[in-house]
Symmetry: C2
Subunit: 187 residues, 2 copies
DNA sequence: TTTTCTTTTTGACTTTTATCAAGTGCTCCC
DNA sequence: GGGAGCACTTGATAAAAGTCAAAAAGAAAA
């Protein structure tokens, strides 16, 4: 992987010195995904963290009617993982799939442990988890449909561009009709 | 701490052999809490996991009107921690407080790391996290008030005994009136 | 036991969101 | 260009939960 691409990750995680960057570089893999490619399946333990360089991905589960329920949407500079499976090392119930052709970086949990063992400064990699969980936790609370949409509008403009409203509605746990009405009112 | 009390933890985590039990014992502290004592304050990083031997505790945050919003309720044999703060090592926004006089065990994240460094078998301590997060994640989803109450009825009978309905309603993110009506309907 | 205070229930009404059905606009593509 | 399909919008109505106010039931205190 090139240093130029590494700089994207460094922007996300904060800077590391030369030596740390070299160590980090050795653990990171570059992956090209075609639209529709799946990088996590239900039943697997999510032991890889991915970083979106370009393109977009989404995490979802199938409900009893086999409809996709959107868990999270990812674009450039987002960290991609099933947070719960990653942390507790239990089987995921979710899919993670490329929504477009995408370029991503990959780092394994083993690599992260290895780096931390080497230098405590890599404890900062824990912020990967922080980033993923803080975003999702907003939707956990009993916020109104309005507030949820406004949150996207303020913090995730990018996903409004990339993904169809039906997917965004599912992500916000509301019906497409409700999202459509709110959008008219708020904008 | 006595071996008898340790057996409670072993029931929760699965068995360890003699040597592992000795190592574990050294890292665990026994704590008596008086009703109202606070073991986690907003602004602190939650770096201790607690196990309830007897009594009860609750985790909450203050909303803008300074009302307590219940995050989690704990009784005998529950593990107590702010999951997000514990995992991501960021400042908690929550309180954790004894609801009654309680006896709890305490183990620090440092101790957990130390044990794991010593033997991979202590990786099982990760199930502490699993237990705490899986319970909470049920309420994240857009389940109806009915389903949430039924979940409590099936999986947390004990908290219905210990805590007033107002607290349980807040925990389930509904109004006390709604919980009262559902209770009449479901029971 | 009576009084007081708190918790829980009940009733009438409002707000929010879901549901169902139909309409508009758009793109793909033969 | 004329469907066929898809995404989004709009309207009418229903269901779920919240709000406010008051009554009933329980628990604690005098």
């Amino acid at each position: 992987m090139t240093r130029e691409l590494l700089s994207l990750i460094l922007e996300s995680l904060g800077n590391f010195d030369e030596e740390e960057q070299s160590l980090l570089l050795k653990e990171i893999k570059e992956i090209h995904l075609a639209k529709g490619e799946i990088i996590l399946n239900p039943g697997e333990v999510c032991s890889l963290a991915h970083f979106v360089v370009s393109g977009s991905l989404y995490q979802y589960k199938l409900n009893t009617d086999l409809d996709k329920e959107i868990i999270d949407l990812y674009t450039k500079n987002d960290w991609v993982l099933d947070h719960k499976s990653f942390v507790s090392r239990t089987a995921s119930q979710h899919f993670i799939e490329a929504f477009e052709d995408s370029l991503i970086f990959e780092i394994s949990i083993q690599s992260i442990h290895k780096l931390i063992a080497n230098s405590q400064r890599f404890l900062r990699l824990g912020s990967i988890l922080e980033k993923t969980s803080s975003r999702l936790s907003f939707f956990d609370n009993n916020n109104s449909a309005d507030e949820k949409y406004r949150f996207i509008l303020n913090h995730r403009q990018d996903i409004l561009q990339k993904f169809p409203l039906g997917m965004i509605a599912s992500y916000l746990k509301m019906k497409p009709e409700t999202l459509s009405r709110i959008r008219k009112k708020v904008t």
